[in-house]
């Protein structure tokens, strides 16, 4: 028989006691791991969703004059210099250092064209990107498919008295109304949207873009940095990060993380107390056993090894069981919450809980050891 076998036999033959210690440790670890992983996943899921919600960077042509519009109301003013960005800017954006952090790039060409109902606001867009960016858009009818299918803002449709399926003349081209947007309360309500290339052709702006709206994943990279990188890539453009959008998003996700951490800390404290109470409940048993072993002639170091192995076994078993349960909890939690964005369960997450569990088990065995070494063997044996 080796020293380790003495520890093992203790766990094996006093199953109820060992199971109780292991279970209380496992539950603590499981709850911690579940909370942390579900919290992390929710956080990245939320960030992911928020990041796709509207633009947080706007790329405009550089102009020398002051901007004389406020809240969509243009009060005129002469602008000099370039009024557009080249289409090549789009490929330049995809080549910046933090390109992976960019989720949506939505180029637009903007102008005015005559219809039967007078001059109308024309916005050429990449519909796929635009719908990704504007998650709040809802429409009757369908998304435009062909080059001469358009999407009308609510006000524009109202003024022109148009419904999905109707046709009208835009400049000198017949176009089909594929869908009508519900009211958004923004400039979108007054616009006629059509495919970027069609709009460029009608406005005689081939190869030119009026502005680019970009949605970057602000949780992974500071938005300011991405803006600067785009600015360097396209020297003819003015790149403006929308700070409010970024700050708001960060605050929301950080609050979620803080909440998960606070609860985890609480769980750690509670389960630590339970574990300490469980294992320390048998201090006197421990003291007597140590007294017997020492009386028989075991050295202090041998006794220490026996007790340490036992504590480590309990800690590891509890930690690993807890981690497995935690993984189960995470899987269920992720399913219930139907989160999107990659799974964030990692073995690394379980490393510290298992370490803490083991340390806790060792810590809990110390009072018995301390009491037994302080007493002479004959007294330790007599402890009741």
């Amino acid at each position: 028989m080796r020293l380790a076998q003495i520890s093992l036999n203790n766990l094996r033959r006093r199953k109820a006691k060992a199971l109780f210690s292991i279970t209380s440790l496992a539950l603590g670890v499981a709850i911690f791991v579940t909370l942390q992983s579900v919290g992390n996943t929710l956080q990245s899921d939320l960030a992911h969703r928020l990041d796709q919600y509207g633009a947080n960077i706007i790329v405009l042509p550089k102009s020398d004059s002051l901007n004389l519009s406020y809240g969509g109301l243009n009060v005129g003013g002469v602008t000099y210099g370039q009024q557009y960005i080249g289409t090549d800017a789009l490929s330049l954006i995809t080549k910046i250092d933090d390109a992976e952090s960019i989720s949506t790039v939505s180029p637009k060409v903007i102008g005015a064209l005559p219809t039967e109902h007078g001059e109308s606001l024309i916005v050429g867009v990449d519909f796929q990107q635009e719908f990704t960016l504007k998650k709040w858009w809802s429409l009757t009818g369908q998304q435009p498919q062909g080059p001469w299918e358009v999407l009308l803002g609510a006000e524009a449709a109202d003024k022109m008295n148009m419904q999905p399926g109707d046709t009208f003349r835009l400049s000198d081209t017949n176009v089909l109304v594929a869908g009508v947007l519900e009211e958004t309360g923004s400039q979108d309500d007054y616009a006629i949207f059509l495919q970027l290339s069609s709009a460029q052709k009608l406005l005689d702006m081939q190869g030119k873009i009026s502005l680019i709206e970009i949605s970057a994943l602000c949780t992974t990279c500071p938005i300011k940095e991405i803006s600067d990188q785009i600015g360097q890539a396209i020297p003819t453009a003015k790149v403006t990060p929308l700070k409010e959008a970024v700050v708001g998003r960060m605050a929301t996700t950080t609050r979620l993380a803080t909440f998960a951490t606070a609860i985890s800390v609480l769980v750690i404290i509670i389960s630590s107390l339970v574990v300490l109470a469980t294992i320390m409940g048998s201090v006197n048993d421990r003291t007597r056993e140590i007294g017997i072993l020492r009386a028989i002639g075991f050295r202090q170091s041998q006794v220490a090894i026996i007790i340490l192995i036992e504590a480590i076994l309990i800690g590891l078993l509890g930690g690993i069981t807890g981690m497995s349960l935690g993984y189960l909890g995470y899987t269920l939690g992720a399913r219930v919450l139907t989160v999107q964005g990659g799974a964030t369960f990692s073995v690394a997450l379980a490393f510290w809980p298992i370490m803490v569990a083991t340390l806790l088990a060792i810590l809990a065995s110390l009072p018995g050891v301390w009491k037994a070494t302080r007493l002479e063997p004959v007294e330790a044996i007599r402890v009741l």
């Binding site: 028989m1 003495i6 094996r12 002639g297 075991f298 202090q300 063997p377 004959v378 044996i381």
Partner: protein, 223 residues
Amino acid sequence: MSSLVQAQQITKEYQTGPVKALALQGVNLTVSKGEFLSIIGPSGSGKSTLLSVIGGLCTPTRGSLKVDGFNVYDLPQEKLADYRREYIGFVFQQFQLIPYLTALENVMLPLVAAGLKNNQQVAAAKEVLEKVGLGQKTQRLPSQLSGGEQERVAISRAIVNKPPLILADEPTGALDSRTTEEILELLAQLHSEGQTIIMITHNPKVAARAQRIVEIVDGKIAS
């Protein structure tokens, strides 16, 4: 015969809070090699304390204990543990078996402490358990054994590493007369093989089985 144990002016005071209990007051005792000695005396007279001092389990407040020529309580911690393992086989009053180890494993303990190979541990422990008549019950836990059987496991554990000195604290105290007789037979047999034994009892009949009787009253040798 040469002496194995020389206790000189052993005094032991227990301090329980502000109260001091004087358990031993200047005890002198010499035990020869191969001797079978019994210690009698009323309850609380200091018998167990004396045996613990001799067994290296309890440091005397004053006095010296020489065993085999060296001063036991001058030894450092770890050497004192070695002394207990190599010189002493202690049979405790309440057996003090480890509850989660089988009879065999309990008997193996002193050999585990000595770092013997597993097969040597098993062979030696089995041999001793055979000798005390427990060859069929080596795999039982203490809770699955009767009082007399537990006593025999405790004696087996005390003799398994062949220590020069067996110390038995009321080994028959909790046993019926038939089992008492069996245990005394066992001790007598060990003595006949040359084993030095010190046995505590408060039963004069049991004490009479030894070669010499020492009586302790109020922490002093009375006769």
